[in-house]
Symmetry: C2
């Protein structure tokens, strides 16, 4: 053994031998400034200001790897690049027909100071309305397949902002929004109360979902979300209620791992949209701009559309999805005995096809057409449905021919009950079935605990699954409306056949539970809809009286239901009610017939999250405009300047408004319809009832203006 | 507060208020006796004796449910039934052409004494060679979908038996067997040593796999396994080394749950085969008898066969599965650059087709034909292979036509790399591809960690998957040879297209690792093969010298390689070596050409696990017999009475034996071939070298007996 001599010297021992100079760089576009720093420990941080006011204080960045040296500290800044981009592009469908993508991009190239010296870039894009950033792993010799154990992205907020939030639930977005200060966030309160949500998993008491909407005391609006969520897991935000620091919480897989990645590769973008105008949040195109361009070479099969369907009647208990009362209700030959309450019968569907064709509605959705509904929910079954096997009273061929003869499209329904593995086994068969019978669109569902067991609706395996479904649908030229998936992040740019998703608390909650408060629809565009369209299923005319449960009703006026076709953007819009509830009100239904689902332009006239929204949109390829104005539980006057109209032209407005004594609770179905002449100089002033709204259609005045007065 | 008076009385408090009379019942068939008891706590127990000697001492039974009252105690015996069955049935293929199913069945109907009073039956079948039992859940109002959290089945052994075992590994059976006393079982020793096995998961230090083979000090042979493993998870056995008590260890899923069940439903059978003759263990038909009859209405596409293939050359490193050296080795157009070492080329495959047709071998297997091998293993990738996309140098159409023109069948290879979800998405495409190109059989593989992540090769989800694959193959009239699945449990009766599995340490281990000791093949029929045939891939003629690694070789003589075609039963048998290694020894290869793969009858002439096996089989529909005699590391004389031959007839035997100086280690390839005349009175006496064997073909002597002497 060697002798070791210890010399007593005065020296300092660094436990951590790593030390480097702090380095700072940045980027800017107009009012938005981004700063990036690598500190002495090699830890990367960023901050964001708007109009010289801090929005995000210095906040950490980084990625940790499972059982391996990560990218959280001891990083060296090797180099940076800055690029400026200003381009225009056209979406296949959308709120506008041309989108400007204007940003300054800063790429920082980082390298681990420790062995094995792996590389990671962080890419920032500074827009006029905020910042997006993501992590990029270049091709390199020492990194190939790896597992992300944690992401350290933080958003250090400057104060106890007013926040519109739902719990960070791994499996559901179907909560009502809570409006509170950041310091008051407690996810377990709504989690425990939401007994109307089937599958709820909220492990972190202080985690919230994105898109997260906030308003500072100074009147700055901030929205945090992610864009281009592919090949990764979903991000939620842990709230430190004392420091107002938000930290990324990645949704784990069955083993607790977060994301399985390969280099070269990249994470989704984390997005921070900021403005001093609430309307700018709604108009922001950052999330779409951060997504990859369309992968669909021939989008000629993709058509925004409206539809009716055999659906609300089951939600309100008037009929059933299932054919028989139960699985064991069989005859002597072992065949299911019809209960007589099945909704999806050939006759009933024909009735809806007739209504659709008579009223210019493009499609009919049918739920409950296929075998499996007697034993479908809550059993965590591997194999629930056969996606090519109709019930005996649903004649798929006859209905296919009938719809075609009437110029109406059938919309397929594929409810998976959460068994994604069963659906993947059947997808080829299911989509071939759709092609065979001429179904141009499918509504999918994931109601139930996920199989593969241990996975979550918002985990990476399911995120990959939803994309596989979109891709398979595209391969078969079918449009997709996904219910209960992960909330969207702008992928409708990349997969424009993926028209809409649910992933939020829809109008349906009014059918079977306490429903949605009047403020709900004034919040949703600031939150859920930031990532993409929602199939909200508005258009309920029989607001009350469809249920025996006391107090159960839709929590809006009828006029607000019409307005939602404009304020709740979607290229797929359902007129959700029963035909018998439309027939007494075909004057009001006229708005639904007329309203477009694809737009050249959109103006957010005025908006305040939780309070009101007024939106005007120009129907694609026309000179027609549609306006929707909605309010929360408070009555208000919506002042709507029509300055977006062409100058020097006259237009006819038809205003579908609340009746003077309308009220969402006591007199919701009272409406009034008036038409006037207007010009770009007109300012409409419409009284919205409590929980009310107004829907307005505007067309150029032709010769036919007899009897119409100028609006005043 | 009330006053409480405490009276001192002498009384006993039952913590557990439940108490009932003990009840006993039983069943018997000849030497095998089963006793069943419900004790005072309502706990069910059983015991088994053979020839009045205890085999299984009183052992617990029961099933526990997740978060619910289970079936482990407080059970009432409501009633019993006894049934006697004695029938014959014919398998589609097998070791024999007619199987007798003879048992006495005892059903005990149990009911929970506690609410909600659920029902469970335990069904025992007593055979001449042991007992099988399973749990049955009848249709009932208070039990529908449920989760099994544990199974309490025990096997209380009477002593420290000699045991042939491998670790209870959730993902692999590819260990060499260890022979030790029960008290010496330590699964972590082989677990840590087996660095040649890719994926190993052995959470319990004292758990062993089934089939478990034992021999008592009294010379009784006991084999424990399961039969009809469907809709449940796999059972392993925890060994209490002090009490010799074995307890069922069920393989968990990603969440730690064991099995997802529904009533009406049933578990697999737990089987205990017992005899005082080792040969009876090998002849037992209990496991097949406990399986459901064939589900395949038209088995006309199912043909036992032999095959050669492009495979061993990759195992010994002479060529590669992959086409390019790596994924990044691409040309200017992004196409993979051929390494020149790809095995599965059109030319090479044609060479094997030529060999097959010339030598009456039915099929050619090709591995490495499809895109994905450059990046396939160890990355836990979701999507690894495209099962319908050949490499550029594999012309699937040309080879399909060529094989057909030569009367040879192509055998498809679908390696999943463990990504079962990817395979399930592609199965329709993969099997249509097989049908299109005339592949009547597929070899599947699961080399790698399973996806869905968190699941195990031996867990319920994968067990259901293997059955889905067998069913899909049957739908497409394709035969299945599954590699790396769960070890078989007799399902080849129910799915006779599922010809063979690997699920064990095959001959291939000699190619790339320390290989298989000479005793290996004398153990495997007593263990792995009890549940079904193994695609062991014997027939290596170049025993040494195929590898640069010192000491690497096959650990048997060449003659033993031939004998394995008889002793290692499979309806699919590979002649695994390179054609250039057969060509110098076509005299020895004659045995492989002649040996049958389907049998009318089988006699186990003599056998001792770990030491030797001599098996004689009668080729189906002929008067020809084939015998295989093998030994372990010890040389021995195999004495083989031919009393099974027809009396009064003469036969020609051709004996492929070890040369006098053969030795598995130093002179393995030395063999001698002699032919003789024999009759049913003949007793062959053949010297087997160390690690040696003898293969014998016997056919009725026709007129052509010139020059042949009587054997003596």
């Amino acid at each position: 053994m060697k002798k070791v001599y210890i010399y007593l010297l005065s020296f300092s021992i660094s436990v951590n031998a790593f030390a480097q100079d702090k380095k700072t760089t940045g980027a800017q576009l107009n009012k938005v400034k981004l700063d990036f720093t690598i500190d002495a420990d090699g830890r990367p941080e960023y901050s964001v200001s708007y109009n010289q006011k801090s929005v995000i204080k210095p906040s950490r960045l980084g990625i940790k790897l499972l059982n391996d040296t990560g990218f959280d500290q001891h990083l060296q800044l090797i180099s940076t690049e800055t690029t400026d981009v200003d381009e225009l592009w056209k979406p296949v469908w959308g709120e506008v027909s041309v989108i400007r993508n204007h940003y300054q991009q800063l790429t920082v190239h980082l390298k681990q100071a420790d062995a094995p010296g792996r590389l990671m870039d962080i890419v920032f894009r500074v827009f006029e309305d905020g910042v997006g950033f993501r992590y990029v792993f270049p091709q390199q010799p020492n990194l190939r397949y790896f597992i992300v154990s944690d992401e350290l992205s933080q958003f250090s907020l400057t104060g106890d902002h007013k926040t519109f939030w739902i719990p960070g639930d791994y499996d559901s977005n179907e909560y009502s929004y809570i409006t509170s200060k950041l310091s008051q966030v407690d996810a377990w309160v709504p989690y425990k109360a939401a007994t109307d949500i089937a599958v709820r998993v909220v492990p972190d008491q202080y985690a919230v979902q994105t898109p997260l909407m906030m308003k500072t005391a100074d009147g700055l609006y901030i929205n945090i979300h992610e864009a281009a969520l592919v090949n990764y897991t979903s991000m939620q935000l842990h709230v430190d209620r004392a420091s107002y620091l938000l930290s990324a919480n990645l949704v784990p897989d069955a083993l607790g791992n977060k994301a399985y990645m390969v280099a070269p590769g990249k994470t989704p973008w984390r997005t921070i949209i900021v403005s001093d105008k609430a309307a700018d949040i709604l108009s922001s195109k950052m999330i779409l701009n951060l997504n990859e361009p369309s992968k669909i070479a021939d989008p000629s099969y993709i058509h925004p559309m409206k539809f009716v369907g055999v659906w609300w009647e089951m939600q309100i208990g008037k009929s059933t999805w299932s054919y028989a009362n139960s699985m064991t209700d069989v005859d002597a030959n072992g065949n299911l005995k019809p209960s007589g309450k099945h909704g999806a019968t050939t006759a009933n569907v024909k009735h809806y096809i007739d209504f659709a064709t008579k009223n210019g509605i493009g499609g009919v959705l049918v739920e409950g057409w296929n075998v499996g509904w007697e034993d479908w929910f809550g059993n965590w079954k591997e194999d629930v449905f056969d996606f090519a096997k109709p019930y005996p009273d649903f004649d798929v061929k006859e209905l296919s021919d009938y719809a075609a003869s009437k110029g109406v499209k059938m919309i397929m329904h594929n409810e998976t009950s959460g068994s994604a593995t069963s659906y993947e086994r059947q997808m080829d068969t299911a989509f071939k079935f759709m092609n065979k019978y001429g179904y141009p669109a499918v509504k999918t569902g994931y109601v139930g605990k996920i199989i593969p067991r241990g996975e979550h609706h918002d985990g990476q395996w399911m995120i990959d699954h939803y994309v596989r479904v979109a891709q398979k649908a595209a391969d078969h030229r079918v449009m997709l409306d996904a219910h209960e998936p992960v909330r969207p992040t702008g992928l409708s740019r990349t997969y424009p056949n993926w028209m809409a998703s649910e992933a939020g608390r829809g109008n349906e909650y009014n059918a079977f539970s306490t429903g949605n408060a009047p403020e709900h629809e004034t919040i949703m565009p600031f939150t859920r809809l930031m990532g993409g369209p929602m199939d909200y299923t508005p258009g309920i005319f029989k607001i009350k009286g469809y249920s025996d449960v006391p107090g159960r009703q839709v929590h809006t006026t009828l006029a607000k239901q019409l307005a939602l076709y404009v304020t709740m953007y979607s290229p797929l819009q359902m007129a959700a009610d029963l035909t018998e509830n439309y027939e007494p009100h075909m004057d009001a239904f006229q708005f639904i017939k007329d309203v477009a689902v694809d737009w050249d332009d959109t103006h957010i006239i005025e908006a305040e999250p939780g309070d009101y929204i007024t939106t005007a949109r120009k129907a694609k390829g026309t000179d027609n405009w549609f306006i929707g104005a909605i309010t929360n539980e408070n009555s208000r006057n919506a002042v709507i300047p029509l300055s977006f109209l062409d100058k020097g032209k006259k237009y006819i407005v038809t205003i579908y408004a609340d009746a003077d004594n309308a009220d969402w609770k006591v007199n919701p179905e009272a409406y009034q319809i008036h038409s006037y002449l207007v010009s770009d100089k007109t300012k409409l002033n419409i009284k919205l009832a409590k929980g009310g709204g107004a829907a307005i259609s505007i067309k150029p005045a032709g010769a036919d203006v007899k009897g119409l007065k100028m609006y005043k």
